[in-house]
Symmetry: C2
Subunit: 270 residues, 2 copies
């Protein structure tokens, strides 16, 4: 797998998504319902326009002779000539923010040599509002705008990110973890939360609701390559999670083992 030539393709996707969606963010048009995505969520215009931008790059890669399978939130699975290679994308992670104009949403794309999270070799996330790019190449490190990220060297911030689908249900059990952090953020994009954790902005990401692998495939590699920890709520690795469209498990990611164990312990005590 040529991770570096795919990285260029992923950056091109980021550029095209930004170019095609920035003008519609927060407008009625962005939120226009145009069907139901393969993953079961409603597809809005902004999701579809972003996915089309990604597919336009994939069509070019395919014409140039690349073969792969594409898995994406809206269109589901599409075969581009077969083979083992998988590209999995969330065209817009944080659709509610993109539709309403809250500036925290992203495109997340990952490349894998097989069908499980452990097979991911390249992850790319772009903050569409700011243009910040985050990527990780297996064995080569994690980067933000080209600058290498390293959590081992970072000062801890005392901030954590929390995400959930149902606040009344998911918040009370999380309070024991939250109360040990100085600041809690609830921003609305799991992929970006993981990117900013990998960047040292937060110390913990707690996703209380079952997530889809297209939400966290790229972020999983970013966190690991930056030196962080990412598991399910039992502390087990995500390696065997299939790359696909179904909701699988809640996620706990941390800047280091110590923060991760303390959060697991607080959860169990609650």
């Amino acid at each position: 797998v040529d991770n570096f030539s795919w990285l260029n393709a992923f950056k091109e996707m980021g550029t095209r998504v930004r170019d095609s969606v920035l003008d519609m963010i927060g407008s009625d048009r962005a939120g226009e319902k145009i069907g139901e995505g393969a993953s079961g969520d409603t597809t809005s215009a902004v999701d579809k326009v972003a996915e089309d931008a990604i597919v336009s790059v994939l069509n070019e890669a395919s014409s140039a002779g690349e073969t792969f399978k594409f898995i994406s939130e809206e269109l589901g699975e599409r075969d581009f000539g077969g083979g083992e290679l998988v590209i999995i994308a969330d065209p817009i992670d944080g659709s509610n923010n993109a539709k309403t104009g809250m500036p925290y949403f992203s495109t997340s794309v990952a490349l894998a040599s097989g069908s499980r999270i452990a097979d991911v070799t390249l992850g790319y996330i772009i903050n569409i509002s700011t243009g910040e790019e985050f990527w990780a190449v297996k064995g080569e490190g994690a980067f933000r705008n080209g600058v290498r990220l390293g959590l081992a060297k970072s000062a801890r911030t005392g901030m954590m990110s929390f995400e959930c689908r149902n606040l009344s249900r998911d918040l009370p059990p999380a309070m024991s973890v939250m109360s040990s952090f100085r600041k809690v953020r609830l921003m609305g994009s799991i992929a970006l939360d993981l990117a900013y954790l990998a960047s040292g902005s937060t110390d913990l990401v707690y996703v209380a609701s079952p997530s889809r692998s297209f939400d966290f495939a790229a972020g999983w590699l970013l966190v690991k390559e930056a030196g962080g920890v990412i598991t399910d709520m039992e502390g087990s690795p995500l390696d065997e999670i299939p790359l696909g469209l179904t909701r699988t498990i809640p996620i706990l990611a941390a800047a280091d083992n110590d923060i991760h164990s303390r959060a697991l312990k607080a959860m169990k005590a609650a």
Copy 2:
């Protein structure tokens, strides 16, 4: 008061703050403690650099013959030749985000013909990460990047913003309000929360902890000029709040009267 010539000065402040702080966001340097601000919070390098950028514009206005009093989070009060005019600023609203690199923080500046919130005639807020500019001129409307905002025409999004200083204390009493919203955001900048409410991105802003007038002076005018409602937690206007450095009251702002009354009612029932 020449609101429009001051608007140009405020935009120049926004440009200079962005130019001076963008490179340090999320770095150790940004969070370097360099003293205690006049408002009692710790002053970090990013706060000081942003305030200096604002003061550089004010020095030029003063040299050109303008007279006013300046109130700001770090330096406190400074007299520029006396008179009734007050300029009140939060150089960085959302300092924790700016220090750690979470992309949601702003500069907020307001102009007033006297010493109370009701005297504010111009409000300006810039999202430093994205460059989005929000402003309102009393009697002339509210704008985002020059486009007029009007909440009367907006579709409601079912999203609300929440801010507080102590989650364990402030969150439980807010659950009754939160549970009636589809999505809750906890982003970390009161000024930006009010700007995005005025833009129709959210329907409600609930600030549970007492806020300082430099946090909400500009947002207050934005929300009102966009057609929204902004009060304390009793539903009383903020008009008589003095422009100054002390923590005064929690805030409840809404896209319309109906949403505002429902939130007040849910609070009282809790």
